[in-house]
């Protein structure tokens, strides 16, 4: 099986992705992660204004079969939360890099992006 790993993102080894634009970033979970979890039924995310610390868990994704923590790839302040996931958690399965995004944050330290996996490295990890 082959998983989608977009080239414009960076990844954490625990299967989260970051789409960085200047000092802001979008965060979500990878295609591989959603496939491993199976049918997602519940997503718990922090509120706007919450502070994320790189490497620490910030939310929970539950599928029918499993509960999984979600880890912050980078540190920052939450500026937007994808409220659609509340009633449509299946968006994580259907469109993990698009409509299934989780949070938007203001980056605390852009240099943390350099610690993340490149698409090629992440592809190596999951294949």
């Amino acid at each position: 099986m082959s998983f989608d790993v977009p080239d414009d993102l960076r990844y954490l080894d625990t299967h989260e992705w970051v789409r960085a634009t200047d000092a802001t970033a979008e965060i979500g979970i990878s295609d591989f992660a959603q496939d491993e979890l199976g049918d997602v039924v519940f997503v718990e995310l922090p509120d706007e204004g919450a502070e994320l610390t790189a490497g620490e868990d910030f939310g929970v994704v539950e599928s029918i079969k499993a509960v999984s923590d979600v880890y912050a790839p980078v540190s920052g302040t939450v500026t937007a939360v994808n409220d659609r996931l509340r009633d449509e958690p299946e968006l994580l399965n259907e469109d993990p890099y698009g409509d299934g995004w989780m949070l938007e944050i203001d980056l605390t330290d852009e240099s943390e992006l350099d610690d993340l996996l490149s698409p090629a490295d992440y592809r190596d990890q999951i294949e």
């Binding site: 099986m1 199976g38 929970v60 029918i64 079969k65």
Partner: protein
């Protein structure tokens, strides 16, 4: 430890099925998606490889007497071709496993067959042999778990699907009846039993012919994930999870299957259970429906609205059919009435919930 594998493992390996260790067996947990598999069974038909279930045969003059000694239901009530659900209890009345006991139809070599849960076949065979020897009974006890494959075909369209592949008159088969016949040309036992709440059948065929039978039944393949959500919607127990002889010892009365206990028969655990029945259990298994958002899981604490602990969740999921979080769990009898307001503690957060009777789904 090497995992035991189903005779269909080769067939499963040719699919995208994800596998899991279940009771010492490597079995498919999900072929496509739990939701899709679940819906296929509720709305059409699906097939399950349940070859991990044990098969132990008991034959000879004392086969019925021996099986009666070790199961809670009334074995003497079975005519050839009939089956019954039962608990297997220890001397304290604690459930070691639950099982279906079949009195095999005339013409089959063995007299009785019982089906312990995954990984319990060895232990239960020993239990039967020990009891036989202690009591000087005349019966042959044989663990045939790796002689029989077991395939469940479940769903409203299961009768039509199976009818096309069998010489058994399925329409004449009532619940918990078993007959011998061919499926896809293979000599098999066909029972009208299942674990989903839907119309359906379980086919026991020779291990070596499993692929023929499985392949002939063309419908959605379903894994243990869907099997779990389907049984949970019906409030059916899962051995080892909703009761466990050491980690969560329960009597059949606590587990809500007191109806399988026939105190007018003689079996190991009877006297202890008579006392429990007279006094009533302290805790009972109830259905729980979450009102707040969240998913109840095995081990989560159940409290009163004031936070007083009253029990624990043993099984929980997001019900694919209802779209609501549901659970089974034990609570003290004072809180076991349906519609009692309770809380389920999800990651430290008390979530509003209420007890309710099972099944969660009308079937």
């Amino acid at each position: 430890m090497t995992l035991r594998s189903s005779p269909l493992s080769g067939s499963h390996a040719r699919t995208d099925a994800s596998l899991t260790d279940f009771g010492g067996w490597e079995m498919p947990v999900e072929f496509d998606s739990i939701r899709a598999e679940h819906e296929a069974v509720r709305e059409a038909v699906g097939k399950f490889d349940v070859s991990h279930m044990g098969q132990v045969t008991v034959s000879g003059p004392d086969a019925a007497a021996l099986t009666q000694r070790l199961t809670t239901n009334d074995v003497s009530a079975l005519d050839p071709g009939e089956a019954q659900y039962a608990a297997i209890t220890d001397a304290d009345g604690v459930m070691l496993d639950d099982t279906v006991v079949y009195r095999l139809p005339d013409g089959v070599d063995d007299d009785y067959l019982f089906v312990p849960n995954a990984g319990h076949d060895g232990e239960m065979t020993e239990r039967w042999l020990t009891e036989r020897d202690d009591r000087g009974l005349d019966a042959a006890v044989t663990n045939r778990t790796e002689e029989y494959a077991m395939i469940a075909v479940q769903g409203p369209e299961a009768p039509d699907l199976l009818a096309a592949e069998t010489d058994v008159a399925l329409g004449d088969l009532t619940r918990f009846e078993v007959v011998s016949g061919t499926v896809a040309g293979i000599e098999s036992l066909v029972a009208r039993t299942g674990y989903t709440g839907e119309r359906g059948f379980e086919v026991l065929c020779p291990w070596s012919s499993a692929e023929t039978v499985w392949g002939a039944l063309e419908c959605q393949s379903c894994g243990l994930g869907a099997r779990d959500t389907l049984r949970l919607e019906m409030g059916f127990l899962l051995s080892g999870q909703d009761f466990h002889p050491t980690e969560d010892p329960r009597t059949p009365y606590e587990a809500g299957i007191g109806w399988t206990v026939k105190l007018d028969t003689e079996f190991v655990g009877r006297d202890a259970l008579e006392a429990v029945e007279a006094e009533g259990p302290d805790e009972k298994l109830v259905g729980i429906e979450l009102i707040d958002r969240g998913v109840p899981r095995h081990g989560y604490e159940v409290t009163t609205p004031d936070g007083e602990p009253i029990g624990r969740v043993t099984s929980g999921t997001m019900s694919p059919t209802l779209g609501e979080p549901i659970a089974l769990g034990y609570v003290s009898v004072a809180h076991a009435e349906p519609d009692t307001a309770v809380r389920v503690v999800v990651r430290g957060e008390p979530k509003k919930a209420r007890t309710r009777s099972t099944p969660f789904l009308d079937r």
